[in-house]
């Protein structure tokens, strides 16, 4: 007998992600991913000045502010064939790197660790043995038994006070949770420390961007950071060294704590390298351009089809010709008018709401396709594509991760095992470690360029009469982001954002092909339909972020997960 589980956590106005699964014989047999909020914000841009678009797009989403700002200015620059000065590239890169360091750390510790870490076992841990274990895995200085005992005391106090708050609703004691109490304690201690380090990465974004969470320094044509090494009011040596010292604190946390924790958890949950692969087509765009022409990049991009790493196809520019032509959005199962796949430059966003119809329209997310195929995006895509191309930095950190996981788990793990739920977490940690190395490198590029006497940051845009088209891409923390613009006589006449979560949370298309979330849930074991922890593990591994957020606080909102026997 099949069981239907509906996880629709919000009855509030902001409604986001809803997941429906059918469970048959203890594992998922069918899955639907649905976004319960309309993402028609692009329409607000029509008729506006393209130079202002980024101010609006960075409000699409409260978590991914910076990335939408960046993709927007890049899209307009692409339409104008406008290059930006090297200083502007490096300043933007440093903002993007630090934004991603913050985002990846937050995702691992704050948003997904508690899927794997049962904090209710922590009172039973032994800080002394936990400390020895942690010190055998990493050189991080803050793993002493004293520090672990303090973290343990916090959990014990919370449990004792009955003020469990968020933790009260966790799936504690679930049969799929099986880390030893000592490991849970180490992870919880790092969860507390992460709050301190993620904030430092955010401070770097704030110094360069003028403000967080909404940066102020962008412009179509470059950045608005005046550079004068001797002036107090501009980007001077003092500020550059403040940035450096903040990054010097974040980098070791990423490399010695986050990277190791992700490897250890992967090693101790080996079964999760067998589930959740889903769609084995991968897409990533190159990013972190190294010159004004954006002719070389520090992060590789390309396409892998059907999990065939040997046949990976690289991209050499930020919006490769193939990419420009291959992307379409299908509306067959989305709450919009129209059914033929549309290229984003021709894309329309006209709502046609029907209610949730599992064989008809069931989501506000369109179905992006690449040459008609569903694609998985995110750190895993970028890591696999870089690894397949022999990209040195990707290979270095991936091989290190595979060796660590194999050593801790006493079982040989290969790059192919990363095509799984756990693989997405490991790949995110690999990418974060890569970015932490690149943080220092791009800081040096910026300082070296300024030291040569180059203080240019901006090339003014000129808008021609008639119609021009452009696409701006960014390999964001959640994967490939692209903004597609059409500009007529200096005003926006179309604007479409194809965001990472649209690729991953895509519904079925006109050929019935499910999207990555839907495919990755198939075959996942479900130990207890009342507590579908396994579904959360797989969905969280993608780092979902439904585009655009409405943040209204609803005093009557109650969350629900319902189970129905079919």
């Amino acid at each position: 007998m099949a069981t239907r589980i509906n996880i629709d956590p919000v009855t509030r106005i902001e409604g986001h992600l809803r997941v429906d699964v059918e469970v048959d014989g203890g594992s998922v047999s069918k899955a639907w991913a649905s976004c319960t909020m309309w993402r028609g914000i692009e329409n607000i841009l029509l008729g506006r000045d393209p130079r202002e678009a980024w101010l609006f797009t960075q409000r699409f989403c409260g978590v991914c502010t910076t990335v939408h700002a960046m993709a927007s200015v890049r899209a307009v620059e692409d339409a104008l064939r406008l290059q930006i000065p090297p200083n502007a590239q490096f300043i933007r890169n440093l903002i993007l790197i630090n934004h991603a360091l913050h985002d990846h750390v937050v995702h691992f510790y704050q948003l997904s660790a508690l899927d794997w870490v049962d904090i209710m076992t922590i009172p039973r841990a032994n800080p002394k043995t936990a400390s020895s274990l942690a010190e055998s895995l990493s050189d991080w200085p803050d793993n002493s038994d004293k520090q672990l005992a303090a973290a343990q005391a916090r959990v014990t106090a919370l449990a004792g006070s009955g003020q469990l708050g968020m933790f009260a609703s966790g799936y504690w004691g679930h049969p799929a949770m099986h880390l030893p109490p000592d490991v849970n304690l180490i992870a919880f201690s790092h969860y507390l420390q992460a709050l301190e380090y993620q904030r430092k990465a955010l401070q770097v974004v704030g110094i360069l961007g003028g403000k967080t969470p909404h940066i102020q320094n962008l412009a179509v044509g470059g950045v608005m950071n005046a550079i004068n090494l001797d002036s107090l009011a501009t980007l001077n040596m003092d500020r550059l060294y403040t940035i450096k010292s903040l990054m010097d604190e974040v980098i070791p946390f990423v490399q010695q704590v986050y990277f190791n924790d992700a490897c250890a958890i992967a090693a101790l949950y080996p079964e999760w390298m067998n589930f959740g692969g889903g769609v084995h087509n991968y897409l990533a765009v190159p990013d972190l351009p190294l010159d004004a022409q954006a002719s070389a990049f520090d992060l590789p991009g390309g396409v892998i089809l059907d999990g065939n790493l040997a046949g990976a196809h690289p991209f050499y520019t930020a919006a490769d010709t193939d990419f420009r032509h291959a992307v379409t959005e299908d509306l067959t199962h989305a709450w919009y008018k129209g059914s033929e796949p549309q290229h984003p430059w021709q894309g329309e966003t006209q709502p046609q709401y029907t209610d949730f119809e599992e064989n008809g329209k069931y989501t506000w997310v369109k179905a992006p396709r690449y040459d008609g195929r569903p694609m998985q995006v995110g750190p895993l895509s970028q890591v696999l594509i870089g690894y397949a191309q022999g990209h040195p930095l990707t290979k270095k950190w991936t091989d290190l991760a595979l060796a660590k996981i194999s050593a801790i788990g006493k079982r040989k793990v290969t790059v192919n095992d990363l095509q799984s739920t756990m693989g997405r977490h490991v790949a995110r940690a690999i990418r974060c470690a890569m970015l932490s190395e690149l943080a220092g490198k791009h800081w040096e590029y910026l300082v070296a360029n300024i030291s040569r006497g180059d203080t240019a940051v901006y090339n003014p845009p000129k808008f021609p009469d008639g119609e021009i088209e452009g696409v701006g891409t960014h390999e964001a923390p959640r994967g490939t982001l692209s903004h597609w613009v059409v500009i007529r006589n200096g005003r926006l006449s179309n604007y479409q954002a194809v965001v990472p979560t649209t690729w991953n949370a895509s519904p079925r298309d006109n050929r019935g092909q499910p999207g990555p979330y839907e495919m990755s849930l198939l075959g996942n074991p479900i130990a207890d339909p009342e507590k579908p922890l396994e579904v959360l593990r797989t969905v969280h591994s993608f780092d979902p972020c439904m585009a655009c957020a409405c943040h209204t606080f609803d005093p009557s909102g109650k969350a629900i997960a319902t189970v129905k026997v079919l």
């Binding site: 106005i13 699409f60 909404h214």
Partner: protein
């Protein structure tokens, strides 16, 4: 030095009344002279990174839109205890960690400001537009007055400017082009 009082406007300015918080921040900046122990921040629609802005504060005043609980334009105040009562359950996306989870995470980490208050205005329309509905617009002066009162009660120096500064709101269609 981190200012000891944070006034955090949360909400999406592109979705009408959801933008009450950021709209209120822009109005406070233009119409009031406020001591430098107070920081006014338009935080948009933060996820758990909200916690990052709470470190080192004594007082947190959250300005937010409400989707229910009264008539449009009605102003409601929630103290920390009342916020605690509305706990979310399962979370799927990075956006869902809402206010209560932010506060709980901050408490767990030992960085939650000792005093927390939410000043909310019940919205009437949440469509795609950067303009507040008429009910919320007319509630705004009362809301600003109330916020100023809460700030004063917490020891901050707050004066209404006789001549307001220009309103810094890039989303307003009357803002001149960049």
């Amino acid at each position: 030095m981190t200012p000891r009082i944070l006034v955090a406007g949360v909400g999406n300015v592109l979705l009408q009344d959801d933008g009450f918080g950021p709209h209120a921040i822009a109005r406070l900046e233009a119409e009031y002279e406020i001591g430098d122990d107070v920081e006014l921040l338009d935080l948009g629609t933060p996820g758990l990174d909200f916690v990052d802005y709470l470190v080192g504060r004594d007082v947190l005043i959250i300005l937010d839109a409400l989707s229910s609980g009264g008539e449009p334009g009605e102003i409601l105040i929630f103290d920390h205890e009342r916020l605690r009562e509305y706990l979310p359950n399962v979370r799927l996306s990075a956006h869902q960690p809402c206010l209560q989870e932010t506060l709980f995470t901050a408490e767990t980490a030992g960085v939650c400001p000792p005093d927390v208050v939410l000043i909310g205005v019940v919205g009437s329309s949440f469509d795609v537009s950067p303009e507040l509905s008429s009910q919320i617009s007319s509630a705004m002066p009362r809301a600003l007055d109330l916020i100023a009162g809460v700030l004063r009660k917490n020891g901050a120096v707050v004066h209404r400017r006789s001549v307001p500064l220009p309103l810094h709101s890039w989303w307003n269609p009357t803002t001149p082009s960049l």
